[in-house]
Symmetry: C2
Subunit: 230 residues, 2 copies
């Protein structure tokens, strides 16, 4: 069975990496049985066999693949008889643009809203590394980073406008059925949901309609994971 | 021959509407002969036959189409034997997302950098309407709107990250050859170039590489149009 090293919080059932959530959804979409191996930032030696230090890492028989995008490409190539993640060259290009948009525009804002909550959800052994590396990245304490998060949420709502408009026209970014572009953006929201009780979307935001659709996929797979304090 | 009502500056050869630039590029892409009719904001009665008050308006025989997106759809439907603007349902979906992204994220920033320059390029008869409607929209004078445009340019450079990354991977947003998604984003830059001497892109921004590619298409069609003071 496919094994997948997945970033875990102190509660090992709680999974919050936006990159790993892409892989969760991709594996469900491909209808492939898999088991996840909870992994913490400190467990570098555990995935040293992959030749790098980040998750997701997928192990499928004698194949080891890291990097969420490469994993998605691998799954479509290795399993052509289950639903395609990308569909066509054009749809893959669309997913690629949405990946860039998500990582450059949305991820920094989500991080500015949730990074202190993430710290508090982590296993003790991961906390010093996490605080130090993130404070270095932001150039300030995590407490300072999140102090204006209601303001960040307003900017985030503005930045989500293309998602809001596209998913008002069709059920998913990929049209009538979800695909990898949807999983990329949903994984970003799932990152927030799995690590913070702060609602990054306001209750009246219609992006919630699409998010609920995504949470309901595959027998409410994503919704079944624990959130902070639950 | 196809006629196309196109927003013009005081210099009637100077064309600056981002929506009309989409149609310029779409018509060139479709290899269709056309003539443009310079139009000013005040000439509402001239396009009253279209049932609305905005350009572009396309007249092709007995057909009248307004709205740049509908014009692009019409051109692909009416002229299936010249290169397709959209290519496939997936590529059209990609263009649609990029349209939403361009209009919600990029247009407001370009406007905040160039709106005062646009005013100064307009025909005298258009200036009172333009100043009044835009100051009402911004809630401040146009002089105030552009006063921090170097700051806006920094935010604009950040917002362009997905375009920068995508066009470093492939020559165009649509892959090896340009398509309607490229024209939508390029039209936004052409709006700035045609109405303002303020460089919205810094000289070392690699987005310029893609922009130059776009300026060079169709025998340097877009580059042949006058810019302010030229």
């Amino acid at each position: 069975m496919i094994k997948f090293y997945d970033l875990a919080a102190a509660n090992e059932k709680q999974r919050f990496s936006p990159y790993c959530w892409r892989t969760h959804m991709a594996l469900k979409h491909k209808q492939l049985p898999f088991e996840t191996i909870p992994w913490r930032f400190s467990d570098k030696e555990v995935i040293a066999f992959s030749g790098q230090g980040l998750v997701p890492v997928l192990v499928d028989g004698d194949k080891t693949i890291s990097d969420s995008w490469k994993i998605a490409e691998y799954l479509d190539e290795a399993y052509p008889n289950t639903p395609s993640l990308f569909g066509s060259a054009e749809a893959k290009r669309h997913a690629r643009f949405i990946k860039h948009w998500t990582e450059t525009t949305l991820h920094p804002m989500v991080s500015r809203m949730t990074v202190l909550d993430i710290l508090n959800e982590l296993h003790e052994k991961d906390q010093p590394y996490f605080r130090e590396s993130r404070e270095k990245r932001f150039g300030k304490t995590l407490e300072e980073v999140v102090s204006d998060r209601e303001d960040t949420r307003k900017k985030f709502a503005l930045a989500l406008a293309p998602l809001r408009l596209a998913t008002a026209e069709e059920p998913f970014l990929c049209g009538g059925t979800p695909g990898y572009a949807d999983y990329i953006v949903f994984a970003m929201l799932q990152w927030a949901r799995s690590s913070s009780a702060f609602p990054v979307l306001l209750a009246d935001d219609t992006v919630n309609v699409w998010r609920e659709r995504m949470l309901g996929l595959f027998a409410a797979y994503a919704a079944s994971f624990p959130t902070p304090g639950k």
